[in-house]
Amino acid sequence: MSETIKRAGVLLLIGAVLGCSKIPPPKELVTARADYAKAQKGLAAKLAPADLDTAKQALDAAEAAFDAEPEEQRTRDLAYIADRRALLAEAAGGTESANRRREAAERAYKEVTQTELKLARAKVAKSKEQLEKERREREKAEVARDSAERARASMEKDLRAALDSIKEIASIKEEARGVVITLSGAVLFASGRATLLPIAKSKLDQVAESIKHQGSKKLIVEGHTDSVGPITANMRLSQQRADAVREHLIGRGIPSGDITAVGIGPDRPVAENTSPEGRANNRRVEIIVK
């Protein structure tokens, strides 16, 4: 037999003897098998397939070494390494799982905060809108108030101006029955007559204007006399004078329905009829503005 064939025969014999014996696997290999099985069942299969594959290859190398040389240190070393690789694959699967959970949480966080931001912004916009609306309404009300105020002030001014202008010939008093404009009889009429003097007409025009500005006001024109002479004559004269004033005011635009004329005669004196001044004061026309 040649040396080569003899050598091959010896090797085969040793291999057969060693390979066929029922030698239990080293604890490193047992552990490696268990850890690989665990890794394979877990997250690594889906989430860390490359690392799991590396672990499988390491385990296969250990198994091959165990088949060839079950009691050698090399088998135990390969099994040790295979075990570590299996544990690594499992850890890698866990890492990837945690990464995905983190990413999902980050997305959810973004979504929630964006939603909340949107809601908050909408709320702010709505309150702004509401405030703006209220402001505009307040402004409108203020403007309305201002213009009403201005109108009233202007009317007051007009009336005062008008009344001021007739102050020389009239006195104005506010009484319970209304604003009473008292015009002296001597200024309005010639003695004993019921025809308005020219200057009286222009003064009454001013009175008419200022009264018209007030809006529709009810007017009573009262004619008064002193106590000199017969009552019937005084009654008639005072009525005529009141009518004359009334007609003139109607001519200047006061609606006829708003103004009445009445002759009072001597019955409501404002002064003593015993003196000339007193009698002059009693001879008057009163326009009561209600």
Binding site: L87, R101, R102
Partner: protein, 121 residues
């Protein structure tokens, strides 16, 4: 002794050599560098902060230490084995450390979500 037995005895060393590849192995300087790199990687990943990772980091360092001594004694085959084991422990330590960090980050992110959801309108 039979001729076969004598043959086996004569060639035992060679057979052993074929099977185990011992003696005359080169100094594993490359493997040393690789293993040291893996250990650094594990430390940088925070392996000392997690019990399982710390354990494997410790194993890696111990085996590295032993391997260095063996290299001084030129027992390169044994040194290589230990360095390879150490490398696998260090890589595992790094992976465990990374999982630990990733889980902490995931918990923190979830806590943030729960906070904003809880404080919502």
């Amino acid at each position: 002794m039979t001729s076969i037995t004598r043959f086996v005895h004569a060639h035992a060393v060679c057979v052993a050599a074929v099977l185990t590849g011992c003696g005359g192995a080169p100094s594993p300087v490359d493997q040393l560098a690789t293993t040291q790199g893996s250990i650094r990687g594990a430390e940088e990943a925070g392996a000392s902060g997690e019990p399982d990772a710390a354990l494997h980091l410790k194993l890696a360092k111990e085996q590295l230490g032993k391997a260095k001594t063996l290299m001084q004694d030129e027992d390169n085959e044994e040194a290589t084995r230990l360095l390879q084991r150490a490398e696998s422990d260090a890589e595992l330590a790094r992976s465990l450390a990374r999982r630990h960090s990733a889980e902490a980050d995931a918990s923190e992110a979830q806590a943030e979500v729960d906070k904003v959801k809880g404080a919502g309108p």
